[in-house]
Symmetry: C2
Subunit: 321 residues, 2 copies
């Protein structure tokens, strides 16, 4: 099968590597002037992996989209709307299906990425999401993992699962696109909270964080019309090892650095996502105590110790609430 | 309030320390000849904590039970039935209520500890369970955590929560005793599986393990008449930090040592629990693929790599299945 991957950052390049690894004919696109693309063109590798010569490289978006009917997108979440407009401007997307390998919610609207994509490209263009756990570094050294593909069309989901399954990635079908996308995005916020606990030397509270973080998001997803169980699947809970426990997790580290007062080079994705989640909390009238605490600390610069203590001392209540 | 704690191992002694810390009048019992009790009598401390002089120590079970109406039990799970018979033989338990601070299932019957207790002591004796995350070492240095108390009587549950809440332990009410007990016991089996993954250098699969381990137990609990959400609360998922990630977790370490071929001093609790879970799997006709894999490796000495690979390569399916 022919596969195009749009975006040549760490995950985009991995997806190109993986599609080639399982036997597909792959073209990888990066924007004009991309340093990542330049590096790949010159050395056919980046800091994570070596890319076989068989993977074509291009900065021509039209050519990349023409190459295949199955198109993976892995770019920065907040750029998806404008990127979608570029794709639409190319015209002739009939027969193409898109797979979003990215996690996030749009700031300002709280919208899911598949919604943003449809609004930008057109409702008729099929789109799925591919999310779940796994570190690029591990996949490259052939450590397997489980992931999930979800869309609003089970036939599309199954076709994609069949096209991308291998002994390296075992896929599950996701049956709740909304819950899958909210959960995948929100895990970065729980990662920020985990880092804050680590920063205070309260790492043993990460167990309670896992139980209570999932619960508030489960309630939000249910209120939005999704399935309350989805957050406990691979897209969210399944990603907690990488997000809450790995020393390399960008979001966990951001939270930790914020507490211990270490300067950080760039904002973590969860910083944007928590803003979008506060919009959803308001819109759907669902209390999100942990997300709100992260928001107060990160965006309103409230005292972290005081905020986390308040969270802990809230009134005793039922586990299911 | 007067509180008696029966059992002076690591957790029993902690419960005596904690009950004293929050202002109760505490007596701690250990069996005659107990080395732990001897150590506490001589030094008023053990390897984890110092016990204030105000905590009375005794090896007289009758005296200990007479001391208080609220009696915490923390002994080895498989000994609960015979210990319960000893309690019943004392007679005069009217007005007493018991709190089981222990995790396990009875081998041979698959029964929950509250069931075993009722069968041994009498159906009319009120019993609750107190489980959830937290390391003794952390509590002692005043790191707070969240835990759960559950029973079949919400008035009892609330009274106990009120009696034991503090700034160090935030309690939630458990509303599903069955699910709470199965989950608390079963987390040790998931801990064994986590250790096996660590042993193979497949630690990044612990995310998928968390998502899939909870799912199979959720299905079992639902089939047994419990709530499918309970396993995602503090009693099970909330204990994953301590059980799946801590280097000190006894069960995790047992699983890891088994894979790397390091001899281990004693069996971990999950080794017993997985046997009881196989009985429940059969009895309720619920497939438990992860537990069954642990069982095959630990009890039938099947090849771990082959077993774990088979688990991974099972047919692709829906996340909710």
């Amino acid at each position: 099968m022919k596969v195009t991957v749009l975006g040549c950052g760490r995950w985009g390049t991995f997806h190109a590597w993986y599609a080639n690894f399982i036997g597909h004919d792959v073209m990888l696109w990066g924007r004009k002037g991309s340093k990542h693309l330049q590096e790949l063109k010159e050395q056919h590798k980046n800091e994570y992996l070596e890319l076989p010569e068989a993977v074509s490289l291009t900065d021509d978006l039209k050519r990349a989209v023409e190459h295949a009917d199955t198109i993976v997108i892995s770019i920065s979440s907040q750029q998806l709307r404008s990127f979608g407009a570029q794709l639409k401007a190319l015209g002739n997307l009939a027969g193409k299906r898109f797979v979003l390998c990215m996690k996030g919610l749009e700031i300002g609207t709280g919208k899911r990425l598949s919604e943003v994509f449809h609004e930008a490209v057109g409702d008729e263009v099929p789109v799925a999401v591919w999310v779940g756990p796994g570190h690029v570094q591990d996949f490259i050294r052939k450590v397997p993992n489980c992931m999930v593909i979800a869309s609003d069309d089970m036939d599309l989901t199954k076709e994609l699962v069949d096209s991308f399954s291998s002994s390296l990635i075992r896929f599950y079908y996701g049956e709740d696109l909304l819950g899958t996308e909210i959960g995948a995005a929100a895990k970065n916020v729980v990662g920020l909270a985990a880092g804050m606990l680590d920063g205070f030397g309260y790492g043993s509270l990460k167990g309670a964080l896992m139980a209570r973080g999932t619960r508030e998001l489960s309630r939000l997803i249910e209120k939005m019309g999704g399935d309350k169980m989805t957050v406990y699947g691979l897209s969210h809970l399944g990603d907690y090892e990488a997000t809450l426990f790995s020393p390399h997790s960008n979001n966990r580290r951001f939270g930790e650095d914020l507490i211990i007062g270490k300067p950080f080079a760039k904002l973590a994705e969860g910083v944007y996502t928590v803003e979008a989640l506060m919009e959803l909390s308001e819109q759907y009238q669902v209390e999100l105590p942990i997300c709100a605490t992260v928001y107060e600390i990160v965006h309103n610069h409230k005292d972290p110790k005081e905020q986390l203590t308040q969270l802990f001392l809230r009134q005793t209540k039922s586990e299911l609430a």
